[in-house]
Symmetry: C2
Subunit: 391 residues, 2 copies
């Protein structure tokens, strides 16, 4: 087509997949089954054009719904805190709202981020770079609730149970856990993690009650861990004196180097940076086109579950050379930080440029150029390649 | 796994896609490219478990975002009404809100519904049954605005232009329209359609301002047509005296029987019914499991852009026999109608049952058992097959 040629790019090539991976173009076998495609529609992705905003609008934040969305009424709703505690508690939504209230912008990111950049790819929600988002949550800190219940001396973990239930026939390792039995979604935190600042029970996001798909009427928010820890539609908290053996912890959401490795559970978010795609898109391929008329500002966000971001670097030559971006001031300790980088696309007129960004945190973690492969395709944080056709 | 066997189903088979189509199981070639998978994450699907609710909660309604979401401020926002009119108008959001206000539950459905049930499948957003949803919109009727502007005698169509722009390199027919040139999203309505009751300019959905992904601050709602007509992020209305030749009308969103057929634009929603998936899901395959302890009530919705629903039938034997469902009373003339059907799964214990529903409207349109194929995979309305494993 004339328009495509005028922009310096080949016309869209039809059926060939060509989505870039962090480290190389995808092989022609990069195809997704219909089952996984259904999961991509159910589990909404973040809209990357919102990467210039500190708070993600409702309707543009990612969602991961493991089973079905439970339909819960706030009337009569309550959670229980039991197990290895001195004084079991039952708290209604009104009880919780009478406790100390905090407002907290928090970044959530699905543990399955970047799964489709892995080769071979694990079969589950076939995420690329879009399972992210920041809402400002309103809730109450968890620690005082656990203190009021009184942890017994042998308390090791807190199990958070949601109202959502189903089965996991695709369980990745069959190590004695019956994933085919109907179960509630459950994840545990070690006591020291559950007691940390920032861990809250939240009822509002962006100033209004949680949407049903985001955990109405109450969810846990663990801002430094991947999203599976922030259990939605909370039903009960159970303090246990051993390591939790539930399906979503023992089988799913684990980092395994091989299928014979039982692995370790996914926990903190690894350091990562993301860029607002510059220019304008082609509707189907989402390829970006940029008119080279003047210098532009590249912007994006960076975050880490291990600490503060100390550096973001930008490459405009497919990761050969790097230059520092300017960092902004985050809205709080549990959210992402903005970065910006001024770039002149005019010398690249008529070419396809590969843009990348790369974050480092204050623990010295830095995004790898080649992502670390693992069996379930969890926690991929390799530096992204964003092709832009300059015309 | 023991659990799966106990439920009477084979264990999940790993990489094999097996999503059912309306008329038959998919062939092994039913795979989706990475590019299309990215579109499935961006373009959110309706959560089918919400099919028992009249109004879809925010965060669970489908979205189709052709280019990027424009970021618009309500301050200073205005639309213009021009072209073949006697008195061109400029209306701010405040001007519009001072006009007569209507509240209107309306069903929207993407024209690409069922595209992945087609063989061969067109390349664009690879929808199955999930691009639907009903919000209650608040807005003002369009007709009085057009009457105030005063249509000239040669007025034929009204073109609605959004603020969203980009290119369409995947344009399906290259018939002289340059889809590769940057353009705004635009669709037109014939004057008689634009003047119909129910066509409104809406600023609220479910009692709050439109979310950015749903057209903030103002969108058109054409409740009887497929979703592409309900232009989001409205920029201007232009009355023309000919047939609109824009990319989204002349090339995209057309019903074509072959690639040499220029086709006709997609318009009214064809009659369709949908069922809330019964039982509980397997997390990855979304296969449904149902414990056969007592009779259950199957529920769902039905709608047509041509008229009222007069009949919904249910089949529990893979479309061999049909029985009538009971119809509810819709909330208004532009939304879906509820249906329910009592069914005893106990005789089917240990078997996989295929459930279906089939709607008829008052114009005599009835869902076909085999869908009508077309080049772009538009407006698929074939009767669905919903496999349920009874245990």
């Amino acid at each position: 087509m004339a328009g495509a040629a005028a922009m310096g790019g080949a016309a869209w090539a039809g059926h060939e997949p060509r989505r870039p991976t962090p480290d190389r173009p995808p092989p022609s076998s990069d195809l997704v089954s219909y089952e996984e495609t259904v999961l991509a529609f159910r589990n909404h992705g973040f809209h990357l054009e919102m990467l210039d905003q500190e708070i993600t609008p409702l309707g543009s934040h990612y969602q991961l719904i493991h089973f079905d969305i439970p339909q819960l009424s706030p009337a009569g709703y309550a959670i229980t805190i039991g197990g290895r505690v001195k004084k079991p508690l039952r708290l209604t939504l009104e009880d919780l709202k009478r406790r100390p209230v905090v407002k907290e912008p928090a970044i959530l990111e699905c543990a399955g981020v970047g799964r489709s950049y892995s080769h071979p790819r694990a079969i589950y929600v076939p995420w690329f770079n879009e399972p992210i988002g920041v809402f400002e949550y309103t809730g109450t800190p968890l620690r005082p609730i656990l203190e009021e219940a009184g942890l017994l001396d042998d308390a090791e973990e807190v199990v958070f149970t949601g109202h959502d239930s189903g089965i996991d026939l695709g369980g990745h390792v069959s190590s004695g856990v019956d994933a085919g039995a109907k179960h509630f979604f459950e994840r545990a935190l070690p006591i020291d993690e559950a007691m940390k600042d920032g861990v809250i029970l939240a009822w509002d996001a962006n100033g209004q009650p949680l949407l049903p798909a985001h955990g109405f009427p109450l969810r846990l928010v663990v801002p430094t861990w991947y999203g599976m820890a922030s259990v939605k539609w909370l039903r009960k908290l159970t303090v246990i004196n051993h390591t939790f053996q539930g399906v979503e912890q023992k089988l799913v959401y684990r980092l395994q180097t091989s299928s014979s490795d039982s692995g370790r559970p996914v926990q903190q978010k690894w350091v990562r940076a993301a860029m607002k795609p510059p220019g304008f898109p082609d509707a189907i391929s989402r390829m970006r086109f940029l008119k080279a008329t003047e210098p532009i500002r590249l912007v994006g966000k960076a975050w880490s579950g291990f600490g503060a971001i100390t550096k973001v670097e930008v490459s405009t030559d497919d990761r050969r050379t790097w230059q520092p971006a300017r960092l902004g001031t985050p809205l709080g300790p549990y959210t992402w930080v903005s970065w910006e980088f001024d770039w002149d696309p005019r010398p690249h007129k008529g070419k396809e440029v590969i843009l990348s960004c790369r974050a480092t945190d204050d623990k010295g973690h830095r995004q790898p150029l080649k992502p670390w492969w693992n069996v379930q395709g969890m926690a991929q944080q390799g530096v992204e390649r964003i092709p832009v056709r300059v015309f």
